[in-house]
Symmetry: D2
Subunit: 488 residues, 4 copies
Amino acid sequence: MTSENNQSSEISANCEQVGRFWQNPRVEQLLLPHDLACSQAHVQMLGEQGIIDKQVAKTVIDGLQTILTEVKNGKSPLKSDDQDIHAGVERRLAELIGEASQVMNLAKSRNDQIATDIRLWLRDSTVEIFEHLLSVRQSLLELAQRDLSISMPGYTHMQPAVPILLSHWWLANEARLRRDTERLLDFYGRLNTLPLGASALAGTTQPIDRKLVASYLGFADVIENSLDAVADRDYLIEFGSFAALVGIHLSQMSSDLLLWATQEFAFVKLPRAFGLRSLNMPQKRNPELLEILRSRPSQLFGRLNEFCSELKGLPFAFSQDLQECLPGLIDMVDTLKFLLELTGKLLPALRFDAERMKEAASQDLTNAANAVDYLVERDTPTSKAAKIVESVVQYCKERNKDLSDLALSEWQHFSAAFDNEIYEHLTIEGSVSARSSFGGTSLEQVSAALKRAEEFLQHDRQRLPSKFANRLLEKQIDNTQKEKQTKS
Amino acid sequence: MTSENNQSSEISANCEQVGRFWQNPRVEQLLLPHDLACSQAHVQMLGEQGIIDKQVAKTVIDGLQTILTEVKNGKSPLKSDDQDIHAGVERRLAELIGEASQVMNLAKSRNDQIATDIRLWLRDSTVEIFEHLLSVRQSLLELAQRDLSISMPGYTHMQPAVPILLSHWWLANEARLRRDTERLLDFYGRLNTLPLGASALAGTTQPIDRKLVASYLGFADVIENSLDAVADRDYLIEFGSFAALVGIHLSQMSSDLLLWATQEFAFVKLPRAFGLRSLNMPQKRNPELLEILRSRPSQLFGRLNEFCSELKGLPFAFSQDLQECLPGLIDMVDTLKFLLELTGKLLPALRFDAERMKEAASQDLTNAANAVDYLVERDTPTSKAAKIVESVVQYCKERNKDLSDLALSEWQHFSAAFDNEIYEHLTIEGSVSARSSFGGTSLEQVSAALKRAEEFLQHDRQRLPSKFANRLLEKQIDNTQKEKQTKS
Amino acid sequence: MTSENNQSSEISANCEQVGRFWQNPRVEQLLLPHDLACSQAHVQMLGEQGIIDKQVAKTVIDGLQTILTEVKNGKSPLKSDDQDIHAGVERRLAELIGEASQVMNLAKSRNDQIATDIRLWLRDSTVEIFEHLLSVRQSLLELAQRDLSISMPGYTHMQPAVPILLSHWWLANEARLRRDTERLLDFYGRLNTLPLGASALAGTTQPIDRKLVASYLGFADVIENSLDAVADRDYLIEFGSFAALVGIHLSQMSSDLLLWATQEFAFVKLPRAFGLRSLNMPQKRNPELLEILRSRPSQLFGRLNEFCSELKGLPFAFSQDLQECLPGLIDMVDTLKFLLELTGKLLPALRFDAERMKEAASQDLTNAANAVDYLVERDTPTSKAAKIVESVVQYCKERNKDLSDLALSEWQHFSAAFDNEIYEHLTIEGSVSARSSFGGTSLEQVSAALKRAEEFLQHDRQRLPSKFANRLLEKQIDNTQKEKQTKS
Amino acid sequence: MTSENNQSSEISANCEQVGRFWQNPRVEQLLLPHDLACSQAHVQMLGEQGIIDKQVAKTVIDGLQTILTEVKNGKSPLKSDDQDIHAGVERRLAELIGEASQVMNLAKSRNDQIATDIRLWLRDSTVEIFEHLLSVRQSLLELAQRDLSISMPGYTHMQPAVPILLSHWWLANEARLRRDTERLLDFYGRLNTLPLGASALAGTTQPIDRKLVASYLGFADVIENSLDAVADRDYLIEFGSFAALVGIHLSQMSSDLLLWATQEFAFVKLPRAFGLRSLNMPQKRNPELLEILRSRPSQLFGRLNEFCSELKGLPFAFSQDLQECLPGLIDMVDTLKFLLELTGKLLPALRFDAERMKEAASQDLTNAANAVDYLVERDTPTSKAAKIVESVVQYCKERNKDLSDLALSEWQHFSAAFDNEIYEHLTIEGSVSARSSFGGTSLEQVSAALKRAEEFLQHDRQRLPSKFANRLLEKQIDNTQKEKQTKS
């Protein structure tokens, strides 16, 4: 026996990470308030249901509130030899209120409590991410409003294709984050369900009321099946893929900006405050922050992959493997919040060179597509029109000319269908304004799209509840009781 | 020039995979019908809008219908030197109807068309997967109904914890797939939007009506922003993570079954028809099919990972990289359908040994938890109750007895709180039926849960539209026109 | 019983993929010749050891040779109801030579045979990839030789930093693939060991000689421990990460080339034969093949991820899960060979614009770094030098000048340390040739590096054995016997 | 300008993670000593080469030594507004020795220095991991020695197949880690090369001696090509896949142990000190630590995936993306060391139940394979022998007998080839000892294998250099100079 204990202390001495992740100060700090709220709601219900004496319930809830206050004042109840967060709370509570503390464990286990704690924390994190998403979308719409007069080349395969408005590009990025907002809301709905009451895995013999606890804690529903409730970590994959997708969107946006920030494109500059200076190369301004936006989403992919592999083939229902995901999940939330915050600060600080962008859209024969359109509108079959314009382009290249430099007679040499109107088609303004199909890049379309996007954003602001601050527990309990009285 | 052409043919001769994936027969076979439908709907709209002559539109649509019929009869329009699927269709159409075929390319590009083709195909695949999900859920509910009388140990950490009903386990698995069904429906809503009309990336100069095309093709809406429309591959991540999650659920279920199929557990046997015989070890019956269910989901994770990495940091809007995902997506759909189909066939064929399962639930002191509950219900504080029962357990182990073997006097030696009722608590039946909290494992709760699950399943059956069979295009057009007339 | 059989045929009818992967024609085609060689070597050893009659051994080996000939003539021995590849060979062999065929299974199991088959196939694939690697390295060195006179900007953070030679860039890419060649050789050494003789998992009761079989099949050694031998799939991860790394190297190289192929950089063009034409945008030349090189490596990462997840937490020793990796492994080999082949064809076809590259290296103040060096060499502290040159750069920008445009008096306005030598430092040629530290970009260093690289390549050509063609089995057996005789 | 600065401070105030990862205290703590050593070696070389005055060199080196001492005493030189680790050191050095500090930046850039720092740190980490690997292998061999007398079932597909010795299983696990040791050594060889001297990317104009710096810092060679030198992060993938493979091996080992720790198998118990107690279920002993060993390797896979995605498609040569990998790499090293340490402590503490294991090997007809062998040795064709024994097995099952319970007459009812010797074949001892082919499970083979493994381990102990402690720099410089003098 003694030798066993020695080994034990040796392990805790040497393997500091043993994966009692709750001894990770960051995990502890994040989960503790939620753990306390969870216990308070549970004990309140035990009292309401007559499973324990109401006065005992009040004593316990007050004791937990004392610990919560201690936590908020930076004093953790945990000691290094507490087995886990729950054990630490229990020990501290017993110090405060004596044996009455024991009722806290009635009809509840570590398995359903930790599952509840994580959901409480992730629910608040989701709200914060929702707010960040709205804020970035707001920035994007403001930029779209600001840049309605800037035209630039639209690219496919990194090759200039047809001119677009810069605002159109901002709105495309906003549209992607709008879809991500939808996903987050769908996710929130599935997350916002209560596992507590499943006990270890099979339910409990006590006449608990799980829906009452759900209402105290602001959950929309309970996870019914008790096995499912303690084992469900679906949110790891669902949140993980949401985060990965946001990361992809930010990464693609920054990839375009990095391209435009090259000296060769020279469409955009980062202000001095957003770059590191290169000591030996004073002419350089390095876009490190954009590179971070491009690169760091890979960490989100890695975590998503980790979760898949951790969950694959696990025996049902609860095992330590389910706890192993937690540091990764916290890391994911941190990373995503950082990326969104950085995006929100960085984008408005960028300086665009409107002249240069317009020039790039004009040169380089990007308006050849317009000449094809011109012919097609005048009933030349598409493939024939393409061949004609290809010859014109070849003719220009050999003479180092732009299409707009050609005389009408030169045009008509290639096709009799050309007349003076062709020149209108060749201006950037003409080209952009002509693309007025729904969702196209014409100023009229982009302005209408911007207006709709602003309305959507207004609408989305209404759609997620505020964070469930712990201090609200009391109010929730009041509300629940009032509702009950109203019904009866 | 000649040398270039030589190199070109050398490439096509030697690098057969050059990633002209449309020369992959499986991709071609899957996308072609959708590509034809897409062009038909587009041309019909061009006629309706007066962009082309209605009679020309009819000629083109009929020509495309002829090609569709050829395809259905196994005759592909594609030749090896066609640049891609669109070029092949165009060439064949020109053979059939001459120069009129050219109008097909008006106000449409490869970029928005391929984006539409993939969504049309994936939409139908989603419906098929929806049907498979419902079918597996149906099987699980039937098994839950069948096995209401089988009790077994419930496990945490692979250690027996408290007895449960096998039906409770079946229902837990069904509950997970029910959530997956919700996810699929959310996904379907976002998938079911039309990119066509974005043209190359910026919209078109023609007065097209995108919503009309959407209605022809059964899309609920259009993807508004033209840059976004050609570049949006969000469905890769969203479908990929849905598939990964289903895979995790099936993998965990099969992992339990593999454990139970060991000779040491001996809870379940695969029928002979579902195992390979081992030549040199005739006593063995290997559960290969369960192993496939456990293992193959990893392929889904790998694909999801591939998609993340492919999309990360891509310049906006269209590039070949977006095409590279297609073989992986098709593979994912195939794998998921296979896994669900295999599950649906395998589960009902398993043979459970009810006696053995009950025996395992009885022995091994799994009912110690019940003795703790007994004391707690009689006001012993939890930690004290746990210590008492731990002593009883130790006492039993030393004497190689089960708890139910102890005389009342032996019980009372440990705590005066024990009386004859303790024996009821120690039976499996007593233990199971006592866990009657909402979502618990008591027969009453499980039966009620089963009833609710059946109602949910009935409800879900109503929720997804049927596959958009190509032959329905004509009917859709009719409907759309009728609606218009009604409105006007 | 009957109902079981019905279910069985239903499964094979409906679940066509049941994962009897050997019914995958491509897997079958790849493994069959190796399976036959494996059996031949085994039976030859059985005869040599006196475990079976030598004449019987000869009959079996000849029968297997007949099947091999049939396979080479395109006639597979497998029928759809053969349980696996081994069963099919056995059945066909029995048809050819009757009951003698049975000895083939003596002291051998499916588990060690399939493990051997895969290694035999992967060993040959490794040799092919080795040859592809050498060939791409050869191309890179030829390009480095060709482009010794082309100077260009060297970039960090996609911003021009200091001028380099294009040859220096080619050599950097070759250096990476040289390291990959080292890795492949290390890998080959670990792959080239024989599992056969482990039988199902525990060895055999027969007096077999595993090293004799190894020598017949050209393996350098046997995998000793029998449990390890049937379960070792380490090569999945080791080969997978090798492939991922090659993919990363090709992807990064093509990413630079894609940047240089933009109209804004305009350093490089793909010849017409290597791009697809855009119908509506005749001015465009899209670099799809480079995009494939950038993107497709993601498939390698996905497979590596799949393998990790498949192998994680598997019970020891053999299970079906180990077979599930095979299609992914074959896919990986195909993809890697394709990528290397494409690289080898594409690189020499690219057209570089030396004038444009030199111009880019000159302008844009990339030689500010040289001015700093100039001052530091004349004992100005680095940070002070940097500040001085920063002021000069600012002065130039405001006047829209290059550094080389400044008069000496203007230079001396900023620091008295400047004299006429500064102008030499500002030429591209001066800048490049000055960087003559070991491994630097000066012509002298690059030429020397090229020479060393060519010698390395020559050396590497000697380092991997040729493919183990199946027809060589007979010769190997002869050699082994000669060696034995020589020794005795 | 002012507004820019405001934004800047806002960013540093709000985006605390801005990815100036060197402000991550753990990264700072790990890299700082190596950064200082790197600078010392560089400056020493500058003095030796006459690029700077030797006395100045000494002053700088002494100043850096002072900082190193401060760091070792827990006083970091970094302040929150230092741009990075290099800037902080430079500032502190200037405080100590004034303007002479500037020479430190001569012929060196951030790019090649950070690349060198990481390699110095990872090289030491590799040595630590090597030591952990040797220690776990040592434990495994001691356990193999201890358990030579314990027989148990060998499993395939989690089904008992043939009896083996537990020692054979320990040795299989050791064999895997032996291969991993080989991989680590191969990796170390490639890691142990010096990037310094590449400067920003193109080499330097100063007459530096890179090989001299390499010898000071204990590197075996330099990375020649300067572009390659600053960009090479191949070690991320190579170390990552090494770590993943070790993780897979530990995960599979723990997966077997978890199975054996179930009450149904009951082969092994964790001592009390290694498990958490379950409050409400006092009978339970949960194997959390084994679950951590099974699960946590997924974090290694996730990081490997992250690295692949981060590196894919990066433009050459240096960018911030390359810095983003560092926290992940440190995490990987921590995790791997933890997993190996935990394994080394946990394995010797496990308690095996030899009786139970032997019993399991006897029952359950695992020796049917022996009966097949028996017949085959007596010239019954394998498939016929298998059919005969299958009938015997069926006969036993129906009568609830073991094979050893059958009378000889019953055996002979199935085949005349059976005589009394069959009973010897059916004992565990007979079965195990019969499998005496090379690498098989017989005591003789296992003992010989154990002896060889011990010799290998002894050999491996000699193969890696000790850690390059920073204090050795002085000695290295001495040695290098002595060598030089000897040569001249």
